[in-house]
């Protein structure tokens, strides 16, 4: 009597039929943040209905807040799955902003050159972060904490030395029609929204323009990076290596995964994301400010953890981190719309983080139980 089922059969194994779809969803890392985002939507739909939060402009508004954090969170998620942290991304935002504004405004570089310079420096510092971590074997927490202060200090010191201030404005005056700057400014799909308003799907304001004139480019970056990171994680060899590095770097090394390379690339990616954030902000506001991005590294980590990633590495999802950022943006704007004192936002944030960690712990235990 044979007890093994036909091994080549790709048909559904009859013993798998009993797993309900809900239970299956529970085993996905992003489950918590997707469910949380739905909860937050329902909550504000009830509490903040009629405040304009869910009008076209309101939605764009909170999506924009989510997008900024989401860009960082997606990169931080990949790095955390790879088993490391980057605490320097907040400072990198202020630093990279200066690297864009100072050459462009003080030295008259074309914007594309200033942007390229900023991205080049950010990637190099990311690589240095990663190299220090893999070569010294020190915790990335310490190494990147060092860069948190170094980059912030330089971002304050250099403009003060050169222009005796910590804000460099006037970027708008020098943008012109720069093709590279266009990647980080303006809106997408204006024609589409004009058409929507013409057929009456969305309203028009007093001037006769549609209330939503287009999708801000930051949202496009956010969605694009989320899609890219998800593709990499789930469908590429590099993605499997990220999981392997975070899960157990010795085991990964034993089977030939280039652990050091993977980690360095991930550090470069977080620095890149911080630089994208900085570029979007500088193009939007027309200025760079030394103190931009303070605490963003921690907010990104919160979004990633809400998104289901384990702090110990080896488990998590980019989609989850994006939903974590969405929750973040919705609550921040929701509190504004409902008129609650914004001080309470931090209380919510901390509570959300704790709940997420407890929930993740539970999910991990469940995932490792024999099914």
């Amino acid at each position: 009597m044979s007890t093994t089922a036909s091994p080549t059969s790709q048909d559904k194994d009859e013993r798998l039929a009993h797993v309900s779809p809900l239970k299956k969803a529970l085993h996905r890392p992003e489950f918590g943040s997707v469910a949380g985002a739905l909860l937050v939507i329902v909550f504000f739909a009830l509490v903040a209905s009629g405040t304009g939060m869910f009008s076209g402009a309101g939605v764009i508004n909170f999506l924009e807040v989510s997008a900024q954090l989401g860009i960082l969170a997606v990169a931080a998620a990949l790095l955390m799955i790879g088993g490391e942290f980057d605490l320097s991304i907040g400072s990198m935002i202020g630093f990279a902003g200066m690297l864009i504004a100072i050459p462009a405004v003080q030295y008259g570089w074309p914007i594309w050159a200033a942007l390229s310079f900023a991205f080049g420096c950010a990637l190099a510092i990311g690589a240095l972060n990663g190299w220090l971590v893999v070569k010294t074997g020190l915790p990335s927490f310490i190494v990147t904490l060092g860069f948190l202060f170094i980059l912030r200090g330089v971002a304050i010191g250099i403009p003060r030395l050169m222009a005796d201030r910590t804000q460099i404005g006037g970027v708008h005056d020098v943008i012109g029609n720069d093709w590279f700057a266009a990647l980080f400014s303006g809106e997408v799909g204006e024609g589409f929204f004009l058409w929507l308003s013409e057929i009456g799907v969305i309203g028009t304001n007093f001037a006769g323009n549609p209330t939503v004139s287009g999708i801000p480019v930051s949202i496009v970056w956010w969605l694009g990076l989320t899609a890219l990171a998800t593709w990499v994680l789930l469908f590429t060899r590099f993605g499997n290596w990220i999981f392997a590095c975070g899960g157990d770097k010795e085991a990964a090394r034993n089977v030939g995964v280039p652990v050091n390379l993977v980690k360095i690339v991930l550090f470069m990616f977080t620095a890149f994301a911080a630089c994208v954030f900085a570029a979007l902000q500088v193009m939007d506001t027309g200025s760079a400010d030394s103190i931009r991005g303070i605490l963003k590294e921690l907010e990104a980590i919160i979004a990633v953890v809400i998104g289901g990633a384990l702090l110990t590495g080896g488990y998590g999802s980019a989609i989850g981190a994006s939903f974590g950022a969405l929750i973040f943006g919705m609550v921040q704007m929701g509190i504004f719309y409902t008129g609650v004192n914004t001080d309470w936002f931090q209380v919510f944030l901390g509570a959300m983080l704790l709940i997420a960690v407890l929930f993740n712990n539970y999910v991990r235990r469940k995932a490792l139980e024999a099914k």
């Binding site: 593709w231 991990r364 490792l368």
Partner: protein
């Protein structure tokens, strides 16, 4: 003389760490379709020998031949390329990753080209399931985390992975020592199967009861040097055990064994036979 060329051969291999002589004068031959058990107490030099075999350490002197040709490994991937796969006890599998992702870790099959190049998970899932079925482990869902498998099954995934990727020599570092009796037997059965498939297996253990049933030859390590290699028909289980402990300690060991036997007798007298 032996007509067939040994799959792997060490001649007078030594490894020094500064002034510490970790290994000296180790000579050993393993043929295809043979299980060589490497036995030794803690500190006998087993780990150093494995790490030398698998390319982690470079031997201080001595010759190392694979399939009759001299080989020099400077990293584990050199050894892997030469068909020598090492399965380390704790460092083989990542519990939170799926069976398939673990199985193909570092050697993911891809399809497509350029930016559409992606891992062929359908193929990978099927292979993982098939390979596991070959060793008698029926995986319900290859996407389930390795952490849901038992310890013995995890070792088997690691071994199956090495075999699938063309290992000619399998080095197993204490694959059974952390396992219970039932799970150890799963691994031992698989070792026997790998031998039947024509692999040369080097099985490191300090447990004679695991080594004896599957081993063809036994090399006993003691304090960094070889105490000798014995064919299975030359020695009994008890003799192997005695040699592991060493000649000088034989008498006290005898006394200890007698004590064990008495304790065994008591235990089986008290409890039901397992």
């Amino acid at each position: 003389m032996n007509a067939p060329v040994p799959m792997i051969e060490m001649r007078d291999v030594a490894k020094h760490f500064g002034s510490v002589i970790a290994l000296s004068g180790i000579s050993m031959k393993v043929h295809s379709g043979e299980v060589m058990c490497l036995l030794g107490d803690n500190g006998a030099g087993k780990s150093t020998l494995i790490k030398t075999l698998s390319g982690v350490h470079v031997p201080t002197h001595g010759e190392f031949l694979v399939d009759g040709k001299e080989a020099h490994f400077s990293s584990p991937s050199d050894a892997l390329d030469a068909g020598i796969a090492t399965v380390f006890q704790d460092l083989a599998m990542i519990p939170l990753m799926s069976i398939t992702r673990n199985f193909f870790m570092g050697r993911e099959p891809t399809r497509g080209w350029g930016p559409t190049r992606r891992v062929d998970w359908t193929f990978a899932d099927r292979v993982a399931k098939e390979e596991m079925a070959k060793i008698g482990i029926d995986v319900r869902d290859p996407a389930q985390p390795v952490g849901t498998l038992s310890g013995g099954e995890r070792q088997c995934v690691a071994i199956a992975r090495a075999v699938y990727f063309g290992a000619k020599v399998l080095i197993l570092d204490e694959p059974t020592s952390a396992l219970g009796v039932k799970q150890a037997s799963v691994v031992l059965r698989y070792i026997a199967k790998a031998r039947a498939d024509g692999l040369a297996v080097i099985f490191i253990t300090h447990n004679v009861h695991h080594a004896y049933p599957v081993g063809d030859a036994f090399t006993i390590l003691k304090r960094g040097s070889s105490f000798g290699t014995f064919r299975k028909d030359e020695v009994s289980r008890e003799e192997v055990l005695n040699m592991m402990a060493g000649g000088a300690e034989l008498e006290s060991l005898d006394a200890e064994l007698a004590e064990f036997q008495r304790a065994d007798g008591n235990a089986s007298g008290n409890g039901q036979a397992a």
